[in-house]
């Protein structure tokens, strides 16, 4: 029972990170109807921004410490939001209204470009670097369970960000515009919404989330390297599709489910090697019965 609870907590922490990344995938899908493969690399850039920022921040604020960590996260999120908006303007905006496949391949191209450029020795190099300790890790004893403070931080940050996302999407003007664009770009444009600005905002928001997720992921991972985004990116992508892509609660649910699943499958000897396969197998099974994902609405094609 103890180990079950332990795994539950680990799974929740991992799932929260996936949920954060999945939110970015799903928001972009909501407004543009395509899968932004470069999202996983924005996550990596977020972790690297934090890596390069933290020595500078350390001069002003104590690190590891809550204040310093917050500043690092905020700055990294801002950098990545800028990168996200830049990618959108340079690579995706010229492709508005083109066939889906074209946009998808471009997204894969952008992803490869970021990965290979960053692997070049003039940029980051392919070697793994140790990630700075932003928040000192303690093990808390609670009801006989050992909880890593990092796991708590991850879950807490995710919960706050999810609530903030909900607030932005449902309670602000720009959120209303996002939902309008997602519902029907033409109608939204007719109502005087600047679609390009909304799309840029969505990219910025999604990329900022990815940056935070990247930092949280790096806190738990042994180190950071230019390909670190691929693995969590793919999982989050599966999570977004699992929950019904384009659907915000679906992405969070999918992320949590996938995190729990991965942790529990990893705990069973013999199964741990098949973790990737299991995630995809479950995705395929769910899509067979609910083609639009768990919470997605299936659309009726009108002729």
């Amino acid at each position: 029972m103890d180990s079950f609870c332990q795994q539950l907590i680990n799974g929740l922490a991992l799932g929260s990170i996936y949920a954060l990344i999945a939110l970015g995938y799903t928001m972009v899908y909501g407004v543009l109807r395509f899968i932004n493969f470069a999202h996983a690399d924005v996550l990596m850039l977020g972790a690297f921004s934090a890596y390069f920022l933290s020595p500078a921040v350390q001069k002003l604020l104590p690190l590891p410490g809550v204040g310093g960590a917050l500043v690092v996260m905020l700055l990294a999120a801002m950098i990545c939001a800028g990168v996200g908006v830049l990618i959108e303007i340079l690579a995706y905006r010229p492709l508005r209204g083109r066939p889906k496949l074209t946009v998808l391949i471009t997204a894969i191209g952008v992803s490869l470009l970021i990965e290979y450029s960053c692997q070049h020795r003039a940029v980051f190099g392919a070697a793994t670097r140790p990630f700075p300790e932003l928040i000192s890790e303690k093990n808390l004893e609670f009801l006989g369970l050992t909880i890593s403070s990092n796991d708590l931080v991850v879950v807490l940050v995710t919960a706050i960000l999810l609530a903030a996302m909900w607030f932005i999407v449902h309670r602000t003007r720009v959120g209303t515009a996002m939902r309008a664009v997602s519902f029907s770009p033409q109608a939204a444009a007719l109502m005087g919404i600047n679609i390009n600005r909304v799309i840029s905002f969505t990219f910025g928001l999604g990329s900022a989330l990815a940056a935070v997720a990247g930092i949280l992921y790096a806190l738990k991972a042994p180190g950071i390297e230019p390909l670190m985004g691929i693995h969590p990116g793919l999982r989050a992508f599966v999570a977004a599709v699992l929950g019904g892509i384009g659907n915000l609660p679906g992405a969070s649910l999918g992320g949590l489910l996938l995190g729990l699943l991965e942790t529990f499958a990893g705990g069973i000897p013999g199964l741990s090697n098949y973790r990737d396969a299991i995630a995809f197998a479950i995705l395929i099974l769910i899509l067979l019965f609910k083609p639009a994902g768990l919470l997605g609405k299936s659309t009726i094609e009108k002729v």
Partner: protein
């Protein structure tokens, strides 16, 4: 083997290439290797073109089918090579390739079934998922070498085999699509709803496309195994699938001659860029982005003369 019109010339042309490749024994092993790579990539690109270009089903799992074919064929020759006399080599290779293709076709059937209900991005992720599942299974199966893969596969693949099979692939795919039956592929690609209202069963066409495409990808995998002599699961990750997708898009979706040219170009070009090996993949990814923005219809497609706009501006 009686083809009509263009198909006959296509078939004859590639058959000629096979004969020529036998005659030109002057090639050194490096060049011969690159030509074999070209042939294998032609098979892969043309077979994916059937699924992606002609039928419009977005598959990101072609490397998965390829690995099924490759591993099956390699295992067969590895087990049987010692038992059979040397003179039986071509027969063994033929059986191995055929078995690889058939097993890959079976995998294609498995992937084709979910495609009945899924479209677009969902189908893309499911095919990607299938390829990853296949890779993980290979990685954990000791019988096929696990994570370190299979090595010491006999070098049976020759230029003749490769181009003969490439010719067969082109012939079958072109013949299939240009036949009366094959119009259904294009119809499904253009508009599924309209196609089914015209009495075309989209399900049947999609599954056919997946099975046939996977079969030829399996053949290519088998040739690849007996050419490179080693197989590792990581060689068949989704980047390999993307490579093949890029060939199809570069050549122009649904245009066989363009796709063949693109397959040759994308095999030959990286070899020429070896000097810039540091920048090779950066250039490659930049090329993909620029191509999509500037020439999304493919490099080798040229628009027919534009019709004059009937409505005066």
């Amino acid at each position: 083997m009686i083809a009509t019109g263009g198909k006959r010339w296509l078939f004859l042309g590639v058959a000629l290439a096979v004969v020529l490749s036998y005659v030109s024994g002057g090639l050194n092993s490096y060049d011969r290797g690159i030509w074999i790579d070209c042939g294998i990539n032609i098979i892969l690109a043309v077979s994916l073109n059937l699924i992606l270009g002609h039928t419009g089903q977005f598959s990101l799992g072609h490397a998965g089918f390829m690995s099924v074919g490759g591993y099956t064929a390699a295992k067969i020759t590895l087990v049987c090579a010692a038992l059979l006399p040397v003179s039986m080599q071509p027969v063994l290779l033929f059986v191995a390739i055929l078995a690889g293709g058939l097993l890959a076709a079976l995998a294609g059937l498995l992937v084709g079934i979910p495609s009945l209900r899924l479209r677009g991005d969902y189908l893309a992720i499911v095919t990607l998922g299938f390829a990853e599942i296949i890779r993980v299974i290979m990685q954990n199966t000791e019988a096929v070498g696990g994570a370190s893969g299979l090595s010491g596969i006999p070098k049976y693949t020759t230029l003749g085999w490769t181009f003969a099979l490439a010719a067969v692939t082109i012939y079958v795919v072109a013949g299939l699509v240009n036949s009366t039956y094959g119009r259904g592929f294009l119809a499904v690609s253009d508009d599924e709803v309209a196609a089914s209202s015209m009495g075309i069963n989209p399900v049947r066409y999609k599954v056919t496309a997946f099975v046939v495409g996977a079969f030829f990808a399996g053949l290519a995998g088998a040739l690849y195994a007996h050419h490179k002599q080693t197989l590792t699961p990581t060689g068949f990750d989704w980047l390999k699938s993307i490579d093949i997708v890029v060939m199809v898009i570069l050549g122009g979706m649904g245009r066989t001659p363009g796709v063949i040219l693109a397959a040759i170009l994308l095999t030959w070009l990286p070899e020429q860029l070896r000097v810039f090996s540091d920048y090779r993949m950066i250039i490659y990814s930049l090329l993909i982005i620029l191509l999509m923005i500037l020439r999304p219809q493919g490099l080798f497609t040229f628009k027919r003369k534009k019709k004059p706009n009937p409505v005066p501006a």
